[in-house]
């Protein structure tokens, strides 16, 4: 019996097991589909839309669409990467992404994805939203300026740590943000620990350990070594 089915992704046959999404199958095969809110350890959130592909001619999120035998999927086409670049540019102008002073620079999925998509400018007018940092926790700094609302910290704190410390709240472009479950709204008033899964899940520079910035020199950081598309892994930090 034929136990492995395949679908076609940019003229490449990708094997999958029933129930796998396009993203899961491509990742297992080592093929990069741009994404920010998806993580192999967690159920799909489907919010960033960066992993949008064309399935049999129609747009869809590859992190939520189950692979089917014989599907024709377009991924790294000029059309799709142009749209993805626009999405990333919108993320850059909606936050305060000042890479030169960010501890995450060189290890940041947003930055590396922007490089991958050849983003040369934010294109749109900047918002410069006011997003105060939360330095109340002894070991962890929260810099919300860099948040892209991927909600991975929400999933990690809820599903792995069992603490429900983070949640998404608010409405609108600049009103929506991550909330902390303590009465004061401060991370220092929760039982958040540096060993929590949520402490290492952030793909950008929001949840960062204190006293550890800039430990790896420029040139040796994760995405200095190779572009994000060449570092497809089924397990991620």
């Amino acid at each position: 019996m034929n136990t492995t089915s395949t679908f076609n992704l940019d003229s490449e046959d990708i094997p999958f097991t029933p129930g796998q999404t396009i993203m899961q199958a491509a990742t297992a095969h080592g093929t990069y589909i741009p994404h920010l809110c998806w993580h192999p350890d967690f159920s799909a959130h489907g919010s960033c839309k960066l992993c949008t592909v064309k399935v049999n001619g129609r747009f869809g999120s590859s992190c939520t669409i189950e692979a089917q035998p014989g599907m024709e999927v377009e991924n790294r086409t000029t059309e799709l990467d142009d749209k993805r670049r626009t999405l990333v540019q919108m993320l850059f102008v909606e936050g305060n992404h000042f890479c030169p002073s960010c501890e995450k620079s060189g290890n940041c999925a947003l930055q590396a994805t922007a490089y991958e998509l050849n983003m040369m400018s934010p294109h749109f007018d900047m918002f410069y939203p006011d997003r105060p940092v939360d330095a109340s926790h002894p070991d962890i700094l929260l810099d919300f300026n860099r948040c892209i609302m991927c909600a991975l910290c929400v999933a990690a704190s809820r599903d792995v740590d069992g603490k429900n410390i983070f949640s998404m709240g608010g409405r609108g472009l600049l009103g929506r943000r991550v909330h902390i479950s303590s009465e004061s709204g401060k991370l220092g008033d929760t039982d958040f620990a540096v060993t929590d899964r949520a402490a290492s899940i952030c793909p950008v520079g929001v949840i960062v350990p204190k006293r550890k910035g800039f430990a790896v020199p420029i040139g040796q950081r994760t995405y200095d070594l190779a572009p994000i598309s060449k570092q497809v892994k089924e397990t991620m930090p």
Partner: protein, 185 residues
Amino acid sequence: MNASMSAPRKLRVATTSLAGCFGCHMSFLDIDERILKLLDLIEFDRSPLTDIKYCGPCDLGLIEGGLCNAENVHVLREFRKNCKILVAVGACAINGGLPAQRNHLDLRDVLEEVYQTEPGLSHGGVPNDPELPLPLNKVHPIHEVVKVDYFLPGCPPPADAIWKFLTDLLAGRTPTLGHGLLHYD
């Protein structure tokens, strides 16, 4: 008549630093002896390297820094008016950069703290000499005010990226940086 008899016209290039730190200009000079090759192909108009005060008609304008005061806007418009191709060089020109870190603060509060209330500073009062350009309420990247043809990111862009960009452009190719040369920090 015979094109091969006369050297091709050198392209005129102007550069300036608006709300920047001159780091991008320093990185430009880090192309080292390659600047001699470059000078076979270009000549400088207004630039900190020539001390020419006003920009004449140019082929290429390189802008470092964003817009933090009224003079920055005047200079930028002068460059846009005179340069066929305008390039935003470095983080500040592209997204406001370090000067834009003041954007979530009230300008009056910033000036009063620096010049009047902060302990340890001279408390000489907020400068109001009419020759001083007025600060803008917010710092802006240059593409919010004029059309920008190319962007060269980095803080600063590495010399090799500047060299790659300029040699691509001078050779008539679309400038591309690629992994290792394209970075925002």
